[in-house]
Protein backbone atom coordinates (compact mmCIF):
# COMPACT_ATOMS: atom_id res chain seq x y z
CA UNK A 1 0.00 0.00 0.00
CA UNK A 2 1.60 3.21 -1.07
CA UNK A 3 0.70 6.45 0.54
CA UNK A 4 1.12 9.91 -0.80
CA UNK A 5 2.33 12.03 2.08
CA UNK A 6 0.21 15.06 2.74
CA UNK A 7 1.91 18.27 1.74
CA UNK A 8 2.81 20.36 4.78
CA UNK A 9 0.34 23.17 4.88
CA UNK A 10 -0.29 26.31 6.83
CA UNK A 11 -2.28 24.28 9.37
CA UNK A 12 -0.96 24.32 12.91
CA UNK A 13 0.95 21.43 14.42
CA UNK A 14 -2.13 20.54 16.50
CA UNK A 15 -3.95 19.87 13.28
CA UNK A 16 -1.53 17.07 12.58
CA UNK A 17 -2.50 15.03 15.61
CA UNK A 18 -4.29 11.80 14.87
CA UNK A 19 -7.92 11.78 15.94
CA UNK A 20 -8.74 8.36 14.63
CA UNK A 21 -6.45 5.45 14.18
CA UNK A 22 -7.32 2.04 12.83
CA UNK A 23 -4.72 -0.67 13.11
CA UNK A 24 -5.04 -3.80 11.00
CA UNK A 25 -8.79 -3.94 11.30
CA UNK A 26 -10.60 -6.94 9.83
CA UNK A 27 -14.20 -8.04 9.84
CA UNK A 28 -15.72 -11.39 9.00
CA UNK A 29 -19.50 -11.56 9.32
CA UNK A 30 -20.19 -14.68 11.34
CA UNK A 31 -23.61 -15.17 9.79
CA UNK A 32 -22.44 -15.90 6.26
CA UNK A 33 -18.64 -16.03 6.71
CA UNK A 34 -18.26 -13.03 4.40
CA UNK A 35 -14.86 -11.41 4.82
CA UNK A 36 -15.97 -7.80 4.53
CA UNK A 37 -12.70 -6.18 5.61
CA UNK A 38 -9.12 -7.30 5.80
CA UNK A 39 -6.13 -5.58 7.30
CA UNK A 40 -7.34 -1.98 7.15
CA UNK A 41 -5.08 0.59 8.75
CA UNK A 42 -5.61 4.31 8.56
CA UNK A 43 -5.11 7.50 10.50
CA UNK A 44 -7.30 10.57 10.36
CA UNK A 45 -5.78 13.89 11.33
CA UNK A 46 -7.71 16.48 13.23
CA UNK A 47 -9.67 18.76 10.97
CA UNK A 48 -9.00 16.66 7.89
CA UNK A 49 -11.56 15.50 5.37
CA UNK A 50 -11.11 11.96 4.10
CA UNK A 51 -13.16 9.82 1.80
CA UNK A 52 -13.32 6.15 1.15
CA UNK A 53 -14.32 5.11 -2.31
CA UNK A 54 -14.93 1.70 -3.78
CA UNK A 55 -17.44 -0.39 -5.62
CA UNK A 56 -20.71 -1.42 -4.04
CA UNK A 57 -20.32 -4.24 -1.53
CA UNK A 58 -16.60 -3.73 -0.98
CA UNK A 59 -17.04 -3.07 2.73
CA UNK A 60 -17.31 0.71 3.01
CA UNK A 61 -20.34 0.68 5.29
CA UNK A 62 -18.80 -2.08 7.35
CA UNK A 63 -15.71 0.07 7.88
CA UNK A 64 -17.82 3.02 8.94
CA UNK A 65 -19.92 0.95 11.34
CA UNK A 66 -16.76 -0.37 12.98
CA UNK A 67 -15.37 3.15 13.30
CA UNK A 68 -18.67 4.27 14.82
CA UNK A 69 -18.62 1.47 17.35
CA UNK A 70 -21.84 0.03 15.97
CA UNK A 71 -20.32 -3.39 15.28
CA UNK A 72 -17.14 -4.92 16.71
CA UNK A 73 -14.21 -5.72 14.44
CA UNK A 74 -13.11 -9.33 14.21
CA UNK A 75 -9.45 -8.36 14.35
CA UNK A 76 -7.43 -5.21 14.90
CA UNK A 77 -7.78 -2.08 16.95
CA UNK A 78 -9.77 1.15 16.61
CA UNK A 79 -8.84 4.23 18.61
CA UNK A 80 -10.53 7.57 18.76
CA UNK A 81 -8.83 10.44 20.60
CA UNK A 82 -6.53 7.98 22.28
CA UNK A 83 -9.27 5.71 23.62
CA UNK A 84 -10.29 2.41 22.06
CA UNK A 85 -13.73 2.38 20.46
CA UNK A 86 -15.76 -0.33 22.14
CA UNK A 87 -19.28 0.90 21.44
CA UNK A 88 -21.17 4.03 20.37
CA UNK A 89 -19.59 7.23 21.65
CA UNK A 90 -20.63 10.78 22.26
CA UNK A 91 -17.76 12.18 20.22
CA UNK A 92 -18.90 10.44 17.04
CA UNK A 93 -21.56 11.90 14.79
CA UNK A 94 -23.03 9.83 12.02
CA UNK A 95 -25.14 10.35 8.94
CA UNK A 96 -26.66 7.88 6.51
CA UNK A 97 -28.08 7.85 3.02
CA UNK A 98 -31.57 8.30 4.44
CA UNK A 99 -32.26 11.34 6.58
CA UNK A 100 -34.25 9.17 9.03
CA UNK A 101 -36.19 12.00 10.62
CA UNK A 102 -39.05 10.83 12.78
CA UNK A 103 -42.41 12.02 11.46
CA UNK A 104 -43.98 12.65 14.87
CA UNK A 105 -41.29 15.15 15.78
CA UNK A 106 -40.92 18.60 14.29
CA UNK A 107 -37.64 19.45 12.61
CA UNK A 108 -36.21 21.03 15.73
CA UNK A 109 -37.41 18.20 17.95
CA UNK A 110 -35.65 15.80 15.60
CA UNK A 111 -32.48 17.83 15.80
CA UNK A 112 -32.33 17.89 19.60
CA UNK A 113 -33.19 14.18 19.83
CA UNK A 114 -29.58 13.11 20.54
CA UNK A 115 -29.47 15.58 23.44
CA UNK A 116 -32.84 14.36 24.72
CA UNK A 117 -31.58 10.77 24.63
CA UNK A 118 -28.32 11.54 26.39
CA UNK A 119 -29.16 14.29 28.84
CA UNK A 120 -32.93 14.35 29.11
CA UNK A 121 -35.72 16.69 28.12
CA UNK A 122 -34.54 19.79 29.95
CA UNK A 123 -31.16 19.67 28.26
CA UNK A 124 -32.91 19.15 24.93
CA UNK A 125 -34.99 22.26 25.48
CA UNK A 126 -31.88 24.24 26.29
CA UNK A 127 -30.21 22.90 23.16
CA UNK A 128 -32.96 24.36 20.98
CA UNK A 129 -31.18 27.68 20.85
CA UNK A 130 -28.12 26.00 19.40
CA UNK A 131 -30.39 24.01 17.06
CA UNK A 132 -31.79 27.25 15.68
CA UNK A 133 -28.24 28.44 14.99
CA UNK A 134 -27.50 25.21 13.14
CA UNK A 135 -30.70 25.55 11.13
CA UNK A 136 -29.43 28.97 10.11
CA UNK A 137 -26.13 27.46 9.06
CA UNK A 138 -27.79 24.96 6.71
CA UNK A 139 -30.34 27.48 5.47
CA UNK A 140 -33.36 25.94 7.09
CA UNK A 141 -34.48 28.76 9.35
CA UNK A 142 -38.23 29.03 9.27
CA UNK A 143 -38.58 25.26 9.12
CA UNK A 144 -37.92 24.56 12.81
CA UNK A 145 -41.52 23.78 13.71
CA UNK A 146 -42.45 21.97 10.53
CA UNK A 147 -42.98 18.21 10.44
CA UNK A 148 -40.55 16.22 8.28
CA UNK A 149 -43.12 15.11 5.71
CA UNK A 150 -43.27 18.74 4.63
CA UNK A 151 -39.53 18.80 3.91
CA UNK A 152 -37.96 17.89 0.58
CA UNK A 153 -35.25 15.23 0.41
CA UNK A 154 -32.48 17.83 0.46
CA UNK A 155 -34.04 19.76 3.33
CA UNK A 156 -34.46 16.57 5.34
CA UNK A 157 -30.79 15.76 4.80
CA UNK A 158 -29.84 19.26 5.97
CA UNK A 159 -31.88 18.72 9.10
CA UNK A 160 -30.08 15.47 9.69
CA UNK A 161 -26.76 17.31 9.38
CA UNK A 162 -27.95 19.58 12.20
CA UNK A 163 -28.92 16.55 14.26
CA UNK A 164 -25.43 15.15 13.78
CA UNK A 165 -23.77 18.45 14.71
CA UNK A 166 -25.87 19.27 17.77
CA UNK A 167 -23.71 17.09 20.04
CA UNK A 168 -20.54 18.72 18.67
CA UNK A 169 -18.87 15.44 17.75
CA UNK A 170 -15.12 15.24 17.19
CA UNK A 171 -15.56 13.21 14.02
CA UNK A 172 -18.26 13.00 11.43
CA UNK A 173 -18.86 9.63 9.79
CA UNK A 174 -20.89 10.04 6.62
CA UNK A 175 -22.21 7.03 4.74
CA UNK A 176 -23.20 8.20 1.26
CA UNK A 177 -25.17 11.03 2.86
CA UNK A 178 -26.31 12.70 -0.34
CA UNK A 179 -26.49 9.83 -2.78
CA UNK A 180 -30.29 9.77 -2.60
CA UNK A 181 -30.45 13.37 -3.79
CA UNK A 182 -30.52 14.66 -7.34
CA UNK A 183 -27.21 15.87 -8.74
CA UNK A 184 -27.89 19.60 -8.34
CA UNK A 185 -28.85 19.36 -4.67
CA UNK A 186 -25.98 17.01 -4.12
CA UNK A 187 -23.41 19.51 -5.40
CA UNK A 188 -24.95 22.20 -3.23
CA UNK A 189 -24.99 19.98 -0.17
CA UNK A 190 -21.37 19.02 -0.73
CA UNK A 191 -20.30 22.65 -0.77
CA UNK A 192 -22.36 23.23 2.36
CA UNK A 193 -20.72 20.24 4.00
CA UNK A 194 -17.28 21.60 3.19
CA UNK A 195 -18.17 24.96 4.70
CA UNK A 196 -19.61 23.40 7.86
CA UNK A 197 -16.60 21.16 8.33
CA UNK A 198 -14.12 23.99 8.00
CA UNK A 199 -16.19 26.29 10.24
CA UNK A 200 -16.43 23.67 12.96
CA UNK A 201 -12.94 22.34 12.28
CA UNK A 202 -14.51 18.89 12.18
CA UNK A 203 -12.74 15.72 11.18
CA UNK A 204 -14.82 14.06 8.52
CA UNK A 205 -14.81 10.62 6.97
CA UNK A 206 -17.05 10.20 3.97
CA UNK A 207 -18.15 7.05 2.22
CA UNK A 208 -19.03 7.61 -1.39
CA UNK A 209 -19.07 5.91 -4.74
CA UNK A 210 -18.77 9.15 -6.65
CA UNK A 211 -15.17 9.91 -7.60
CA UNK A 212 -15.91 13.57 -8.28
CA UNK A 213 -17.59 13.97 -4.90
CA UNK A 214 -14.60 12.41 -3.16
CA UNK A 215 -12.11 14.61 -4.99
CA UNK A 216 -13.96 17.88 -4.49
CA UNK A 217 -14.31 17.35 -0.74
CA UNK A 218 -11.29 15.42 0.44
CA UNK A 219 -7.75 15.90 1.57
CA UNK A 220 -7.18 12.17 1.39
CA UNK A 221 -9.04 9.55 -0.58
CA UNK A 222 -8.81 5.92 0.46
CA UNK A 223 -9.42 3.68 -2.51
CA UNK A 224 -10.86 0.31 -1.56
CA UNK A 225 -10.72 -3.00 -3.36
CA UNK A 226 -13.43 -5.59 -2.98
CA UNK A 227 -13.54 -9.20 -1.82
CA UNK A 228 -12.10 -8.96 0.72
CA UNK A 229 -12.41 -5.23 1.32
CA UNK A 230 -9.00 -3.64 1.81
CA UNK A 231 -7.33 -0.33 1.16
CA UNK A 232 -5.51 -0.18 -2.14
CA UNK A 233 -4.05 3.29 -1.97
CA UNK A 234 -4.34 6.67 -0.36
CA UNK A 235 -4.61 9.52 -2.82
CA UNK A 236 -3.80 12.98 -1.57
CA UNK A 237 -5.76 15.81 -3.16
CA UNK A 238 -3.80 19.04 -3.06
CA UNK A 239 -6.38 21.29 -4.63
CA UNK A 240 -6.54 24.59 -2.71
CA UNK A 241 -9.28 25.27 -0.19
CA UNK A 242 -12.01 26.35 -0.15
CA UNK A 243 -12.95 24.12 -3.04
CA UNK A 244 -15.48 25.36 -5.55
CA UNK A 245 -17.57 23.57 -8.13
CA UNK A 246 -15.61 25.33 -10.89
CA UNK A 247 -12.59 23.23 -9.99
CA UNK A 248 -14.32 20.22 -11.50
CA UNK A 249 -13.38 21.49 -14.94
CA UNK A 250 -9.70 22.07 -14.14
CA UNK A 251 -7.09 19.69 -15.60
CA UNK A 252 -5.75 18.89 -12.17
CA UNK A 253 -9.15 17.76 -10.95
CA UNK A 254 -9.54 15.71 -14.10
CA UNK A 255 -6.20 14.00 -13.69
CA UNK A 256 -6.94 13.04 -10.08
CA UNK A 257 -10.32 11.65 -11.13
CA UNK A 258 -8.68 9.67 -13.92
CA UNK A 259 -6.05 8.33 -11.59
CA UNK A 260 -8.65 7.09 -9.11
CA UNK A 261 -10.78 5.63 -11.86
CA UNK A 262 -7.73 3.72 -13.02
CA UNK A 263 -7.19 2.34 -9.54
CA UNK A 264 -10.83 1.30 -9.25
CA UNK A 265 -10.79 -0.42 -12.65
CA UNK A 266 -7.71 -2.31 -11.59
CA UNK A 267 -9.61 -3.34 -8.48
CA UNK A 268 -12.47 -4.62 -10.59
CA UNK A 269 -10.23 -6.85 -12.65
CA UNK A 270 -8.73 -8.48 -9.56
Amino acid sequence: MSSVVATPSSESIAADTAVYSLNRVGKTYARNQVVALEDVSLTLKKGSFSSVIGSSGCGKSTLLKIMAGLIPPTTGRVELQGKPVVGPRRDIGMMFQQATLFPWRTTIQNIVLPIEIRDGRDAANKAKERAHELLDVVGLNGFADVYPNELSGGMAQRASICRMLITEPAVLLLDEPFSALDELSRDMMNMELQRICSEQNATAFLVTHSIAEAVILSDDIYVMKPRPGRLAEVVNVDLPRPRTLDMITTPKFGSIVDYIRGLLDKGESL
Binding site: K65, A68, G69, L70, P88, R89, R90, I92, G93, M94, F96, Q97, Q98, T100, F102, P103, W104, L113, P114, E116, I117, R118, Y147, N149
Partner: protein, 296 residues
Protein backbone atom coordinates in the same frame (compact mmCIF):
# COMPACT_ATOMS: atom_id res chain seq x y z
CA UNK B 1 -25.08 21.03 -38.46
CA UNK B 2 -25.55 24.66 -37.48
CA UNK B 3 -26.40 25.55 -41.08
CA UNK B 4 -29.44 23.35 -41.08
CA UNK B 5 -30.51 24.45 -37.63
CA UNK B 6 -30.64 28.21 -38.18
CA UNK B 7 -33.31 28.16 -40.91
CA UNK B 8 -35.33 25.81 -38.76
CA UNK B 9 -35.40 28.25 -35.86
CA UNK B 10 -36.24 31.08 -38.21
CA UNK B 11 -39.08 29.00 -39.52
CA UNK B 12 -40.40 28.53 -36.04
CA UNK B 13 -40.08 32.24 -35.36
CA UNK B 14 -42.02 33.25 -38.44
CA UNK B 15 -44.80 30.82 -37.80
CA UNK B 16 -44.99 32.06 -34.20
CA UNK B 17 -45.39 35.62 -35.47
CA UNK B 18 -48.11 34.61 -37.89
CA UNK B 19 -50.19 33.15 -35.09
CA UNK B 20 -53.40 34.80 -36.30
CA UNK B 21 -54.69 31.54 -37.68
CA UNK B 22 -56.43 29.45 -34.99
CA UNK B 23 -54.16 27.09 -33.10
CA UNK B 24 -54.93 23.45 -33.38
CA UNK B 25 -55.16 22.35 -29.79
CA UNK B 26 -54.58 18.80 -28.65
CA UNK B 27 -56.91 18.73 -25.70
CA UNK B 28 -58.47 15.39 -25.23
CA UNK B 29 -60.53 13.87 -22.52
CA UNK B 30 -59.66 10.77 -20.64
CA UNK B 31 -62.43 8.23 -21.01
CA UNK B 32 -64.15 7.48 -17.72
CA UNK B 33 -67.06 5.12 -17.79
CA UNK B 34 -70.42 6.65 -17.02
CA UNK B 35 -70.83 4.38 -14.01
CA UNK B 36 -67.54 5.57 -12.49
CA UNK B 37 -68.59 9.20 -12.74
CA UNK B 38 -71.53 8.86 -10.39
CA UNK B 39 -70.80 10.44 -6.99
CA UNK B 40 -70.40 8.09 -4.08
CA UNK B 41 -73.63 8.98 -2.25
CA UNK B 42 -75.73 8.45 -5.35
CA UNK B 43 -73.95 5.17 -6.20
CA UNK B 44 -74.58 3.89 -2.71
CA UNK B 45 -78.23 4.98 -2.78
CA UNK B 46 -78.60 3.31 -6.15
CA UNK B 47 -77.27 -0.05 -4.93
CA UNK B 48 -79.45 0.24 -1.84
CA UNK B 49 -82.54 0.92 -3.92
CA UNK B 50 -81.83 -2.05 -6.20
CA UNK B 51 -81.30 -4.25 -3.17
CA UNK B 52 -84.54 -3.17 -1.49
CA UNK B 53 -86.37 -3.47 -4.80
CA UNK B 54 -85.24 -7.05 -5.29
CA UNK B 55 -86.04 -7.79 -1.69
CA UNK B 56 -89.49 -6.27 -2.03
CA UNK B 57 -90.12 -8.17 -5.26
CA UNK B 58 -89.06 -11.49 -3.81
CA UNK B 59 -91.25 -11.14 -0.72
CA UNK B 60 -94.37 -9.49 -2.19
CA UNK B 61 -94.54 -11.97 -5.07
CA UNK B 62 -94.56 -14.75 -2.50
CA UNK B 63 -91.29 -16.26 -3.77
CA UNK B 64 -90.06 -16.58 -0.18
CA UNK B 65 -92.03 -17.35 2.91
CA UNK B 66 -92.41 -14.29 5.21
CA UNK B 67 -90.99 -16.40 8.04
CA UNK B 68 -87.74 -16.73 6.14
CA UNK B 69 -87.69 -13.22 4.78
CA UNK B 70 -90.07 -10.43 5.90
CA UNK B 71 -90.92 -7.60 3.51
CA UNK B 72 -88.82 -4.42 3.65
CA UNK B 73 -91.83 -2.54 5.01
CA UNK B 74 -92.31 -4.95 7.90
CA UNK B 75 -88.62 -4.80 8.68
CA UNK B 76 -88.63 -1.02 8.65
CA UNK B 77 -91.64 -1.00 10.95
CA UNK B 78 -89.81 -3.21 13.40
CA UNK B 79 -86.64 -1.14 13.16
CA UNK B 80 -88.71 1.87 14.21
CA UNK B 81 -90.34 -0.14 16.98
CA UNK B 82 -87.00 -1.27 18.38
CA UNK B 83 -85.63 2.26 18.04
CA UNK B 84 -88.53 3.67 20.05
CA UNK B 85 -88.14 0.96 22.65
CA UNK B 86 -84.45 1.80 23.06
CA UNK B 87 -85.05 5.53 23.18
CA UNK B 88 -87.82 5.12 25.74
CA UNK B 89 -85.47 3.03 27.86
CA UNK B 90 -87.75 0.03 27.84
CA UNK B 91 -86.65 -3.59 28.19
CA UNK B 92 -84.32 -3.64 25.19
CA UNK B 93 -82.12 -0.84 26.48
CA UNK B 94 -80.72 -2.77 29.48
CA UNK B 95 -80.04 -5.66 27.09
CA UNK B 96 -78.14 -3.37 24.75
CA UNK B 97 -76.30 -1.88 27.71
CA UNK B 98 -75.14 -5.31 28.82
CA UNK B 99 -73.77 -6.02 25.35
CA UNK B 100 -72.08 -2.61 25.28
CA UNK B 101 -70.43 -3.36 28.62
CA UNK B 102 -69.23 -6.73 27.35
CA UNK B 103 -67.76 -5.07 24.31
CA UNK B 104 -66.05 -2.34 26.33
CA UNK B 105 -64.61 -4.69 28.95
CA UNK B 106 -63.68 -7.24 26.33
CA UNK B 107 -61.92 -4.66 24.20
CA UNK B 108 -60.10 -3.09 27.13
CA UNK B 109 -58.91 -6.50 28.24
CA UNK B 110 -57.84 -7.42 24.72
CA UNK B 111 -55.90 -4.16 24.33
CA UNK B 112 -54.13 -4.62 27.67
CA UNK B 113 -53.22 -8.27 27.11
CA UNK B 114 -52.64 -7.97 23.37
CA UNK B 115 -50.36 -4.97 23.71
CA UNK B 116 -48.31 -6.50 26.54
CA UNK B 117 -47.91 -9.81 24.75
CA UNK B 118 -47.16 -7.98 21.52
CA UNK B 119 -44.33 -6.02 23.14
CA UNK B 120 -43.00 -9.19 24.78
CA UNK B 121 -43.03 -11.08 21.51
CA UNK B 122 -41.89 -8.19 19.31
CA UNK B 123 -39.19 -6.80 21.56
CA UNK B 124 -37.55 -9.85 23.14
CA UNK B 125 -35.89 -12.71 21.35
CA UNK B 126 -37.16 -15.01 24.08
CA UNK B 127 -40.75 -13.97 23.47
CA UNK B 128 -40.33 -14.42 19.75
CA UNK B 129 -38.85 -17.89 20.21
CA UNK B 130 -40.83 -19.21 23.14
CA UNK B 131 -44.23 -17.51 23.03
CA UNK B 132 -44.94 -16.68 19.39
CA UNK B 133 -45.28 -20.33 18.23
CA UNK B 134 -48.00 -20.93 20.81
CA UNK B 135 -49.82 -17.75 19.86
CA UNK B 136 -49.75 -18.75 16.20
CA UNK B 137 -51.04 -22.21 17.07
CA UNK B 138 -53.95 -20.85 19.13
CA UNK B 139 -54.68 -18.21 16.52
CA UNK B 140 -55.30 -20.85 13.87
CA UNK B 141 -57.98 -22.52 16.03
CA UNK B 142 -61.63 -21.51 15.61
CA UNK B 143 -61.74 -19.43 18.78
CA UNK B 144 -65.53 -19.54 19.26
CA UNK B 145 -65.08 -23.24 20.01
CA UNK B 146 -63.69 -22.11 23.37
CA UNK B 147 -67.03 -20.53 24.30
CA UNK B 148 -68.38 -23.54 26.22
CA UNK B 149 -65.17 -23.59 28.22
CA UNK B 150 -65.52 -19.97 29.21
CA UNK B 151 -69.12 -20.62 30.25
CA UNK B 152 -68.02 -23.61 32.30
CA UNK B 153 -65.29 -21.59 33.98
CA UNK B 154 -66.99 -18.24 34.39
CA UNK B 155 -70.71 -19.01 34.42
CA UNK B 156 -73.64 -17.56 32.50
CA UNK B 157 -73.02 -13.93 33.47
CA UNK B 158 -71.24 -11.19 31.62
CA UNK B 159 -67.80 -12.58 32.52
CA UNK B 160 -67.85 -15.50 30.10
CA UNK B 161 -68.87 -13.18 27.24
CA UNK B 162 -66.18 -10.65 28.11
CA UNK B 163 -63.64 -13.48 28.16
CA UNK B 164 -64.63 -14.81 24.74
CA UNK B 165 -64.74 -11.32 23.23
CA UNK B 166 -61.31 -10.49 24.65
CA UNK B 167 -59.94 -13.86 23.61
CA UNK B 168 -60.91 -13.29 19.98
CA UNK B 169 -59.75 -9.68 19.86
CA UNK B 170 -56.38 -10.22 21.54
CA UNK B 171 -54.63 -11.99 18.68
CA UNK B 172 -54.81 -9.31 15.99
CA UNK B 173 -53.55 -6.79 18.56
CA UNK B 174 -50.60 -9.03 19.48
CA UNK B 175 -49.75 -9.54 15.84
CA UNK B 176 -50.11 -5.84 15.00
CA UNK B 177 -47.93 -4.78 17.92
CA UNK B 178 -45.24 -7.41 17.34
CA UNK B 179 -45.07 -6.77 13.60
CA UNK B 180 -45.10 -3.02 14.16
CA UNK B 181 -42.13 -3.23 16.51
CA UNK B 182 -40.17 -4.86 13.71
CA UNK B 183 -40.94 -2.06 11.28
CA UNK B 184 -38.01 0.14 12.36
CA UNK B 185 -35.42 0.07 9.58
CA UNK B 186 -31.69 -0.44 10.02
CA UNK B 187 -30.96 3.27 9.77
CA UNK B 188 -33.30 4.16 12.60
CA UNK B 189 -31.79 1.43 14.77
CA UNK B 190 -28.24 2.52 14.00
CA UNK B 191 -29.14 6.12 14.66
CA UNK B 192 -30.45 5.29 18.11
CA UNK B 193 -27.39 3.17 18.77
CA UNK B 194 -25.04 5.99 17.83
CA UNK B 195 -26.96 8.29 20.15
CA UNK B 196 -26.31 5.81 22.94
CA UNK B 197 -30.00 5.20 23.57
CA UNK B 198 -31.00 2.65 26.18
CA UNK B 199 -33.28 -0.21 25.23
CA UNK B 200 -36.18 1.53 26.94
CA UNK B 201 -35.51 4.80 25.10
CA UNK B 202 -35.28 2.96 21.80
CA UNK B 203 -38.61 1.28 22.50
CA UNK B 204 -40.48 4.33 23.69
CA UNK B 205 -39.00 7.03 21.47
CA UNK B 206 -38.60 5.05 18.27
CA UNK B 207 -39.99 1.55 17.96
CA UNK B 208 -43.41 2.10 19.52
CA UNK B 209 -44.22 5.27 17.60
CA UNK B 210 -43.11 3.55 14.40
CA UNK B 211 -45.31 0.59 15.34
CA UNK B 212 -48.45 2.70 15.86
CA UNK B 213 -49.92 2.35 12.36
CA UNK B 214 -49.77 -1.44 12.60
CA UNK B 215 -50.96 -1.44 16.19
CA UNK B 216 -54.03 0.46 15.06
CA UNK B 217 -54.63 -1.99 12.24
CA UNK B 218 -54.63 -4.70 14.92
CA UNK B 219 -57.00 -2.64 17.06
CA UNK B 220 -59.45 -2.28 14.17
CA UNK B 221 -59.49 -6.00 13.47
CA UNK B 222 -59.82 -6.53 17.22
CA UNK B 223 -62.77 -4.14 17.36
CA UNK B 224 -64.60 -6.27 14.82
CA UNK B 225 -63.65 -9.46 16.65
CA UNK B 226 -64.78 -8.19 20.04
CA UNK B 227 -68.34 -7.69 18.73
CA UNK B 228 -68.40 -11.15 17.23
CA UNK B 229 -67.08 -12.58 20.49
CA UNK B 230 -69.66 -10.84 22.68
CA UNK B 231 -72.62 -11.91 20.56
CA UNK B 232 -71.39 -15.46 20.10
CA UNK B 233 -70.88 -15.65 23.83
CA UNK B 234 -74.46 -14.55 24.36
CA UNK B 235 -75.80 -17.07 21.87
CA UNK B 236 -73.95 -19.91 23.51
CA UNK B 237 -73.97 -18.83 27.13
CA UNK B 238 -77.34 -17.17 27.60
CA UNK B 239 -77.47 -14.05 29.76
CA UNK B 240 -79.48 -10.88 29.28
CA UNK B 241 -77.71 -9.15 26.41
CA UNK B 242 -78.71 -8.20 22.89
CA UNK B 243 -77.64 -11.57 21.54
CA UNK B 244 -80.19 -13.18 23.83
CA UNK B 245 -82.92 -10.94 22.36
CA UNK B 246 -81.89 -12.12 18.90
CA UNK B 247 -81.94 -15.73 19.98
CA UNK B 248 -85.43 -15.38 21.49
CA UNK B 249 -86.77 -13.52 18.44
CA UNK B 250 -85.37 -16.18 16.13
CA UNK B 251 -86.88 -18.99 18.19
CA UNK B 252 -90.26 -17.23 17.91
CA UNK B 253 -89.76 -16.97 14.14
CA UNK B 254 -89.93 -13.18 14.54
CA UNK B 255 -87.63 -12.56 11.58
CA UNK B 256 -88.24 -8.78 11.28
CA UNK B 257 -87.10 -8.44 14.89
CA UNK B 258 -83.95 -10.43 14.19
CA UNK B 259 -83.17 -8.14 11.29
CA UNK B 260 -83.69 -4.93 13.21
CA UNK B 261 -81.72 -6.15 16.21
CA UNK B 262 -78.83 -7.03 13.87
CA UNK B 263 -79.02 -3.54 12.45
CA UNK B 264 -78.65 -1.93 15.89
CA UNK B 265 -75.82 -4.29 16.71
CA UNK B 266 -73.98 -3.33 13.56
CA UNK B 267 -74.41 0.32 14.54
CA UNK B 268 -72.69 -0.52 17.82
CA UNK B 269 -69.89 -2.24 15.90
CA UNK B 270 -69.54 0.72 13.58
CA UNK B 271 -69.37 3.11 16.52
CA UNK B 272 -66.50 1.15 18.07
CA UNK B 273 -64.70 1.00 14.75
CA UNK B 274 -65.19 4.72 14.22
CA UNK B 275 -63.87 5.39 17.72
CA UNK B 276 -60.67 3.47 16.96
CA UNK B 277 -60.30 5.24 13.62
CA UNK B 278 -60.79 8.60 15.33
CA UNK B 279 -58.14 7.73 17.91
CA UNK B 280 -55.80 6.67 15.13
CA UNK B 281 -56.18 10.00 13.34
CA UNK B 282 -55.40 11.77 16.59
CA UNK B 283 -52.50 9.64 17.77
CA UNK B 284 -50.85 8.79 14.45
CA UNK B 285 -51.39 12.29 13.10
CA UNK B 286 -48.43 12.05 10.72
CA UNK B 287 -50.11 9.16 8.92
CA UNK B 288 -53.05 11.39 7.99
CA UNK B 289 -52.17 11.82 4.34
CA UNK B 290 -51.62 8.14 3.66
CA UNK B 291 -54.82 7.21 5.48
CA UNK B 292 -56.76 9.69 3.38
CA UNK B 293 -55.06 8.47 0.21
CA UNK B 294 -55.96 4.86 0.83
CA UNK B 295 -59.62 5.78 1.27
CA UNK B 296 -59.94 7.55 -2.04
Amino acid sequence: MSDTRIPATQDAATSANAVTEPLEETIWEEKVSLLDRIPRAISMAFVFAVFVGLWHGATSLGLVSPIILPTPAETLKDIIFVGKNLLAGEYMLPALWITILEVIYGFALAVAIGFSLGVLVGETVFGERAIMPYLVAIDTMPKVAFAPLFVAWLGFGIESKVALAAFIATFPIVVGTAAGLHSADENARMLFKTMGATRWQTLVKMKLPLALPQIFTGLKIGAVGVMAGAITGEFLGGGKGFGELIRVAASQLNTPRVFSLILYLSLLGLALYALVTFAQRRVVFWQKTTAAASHD
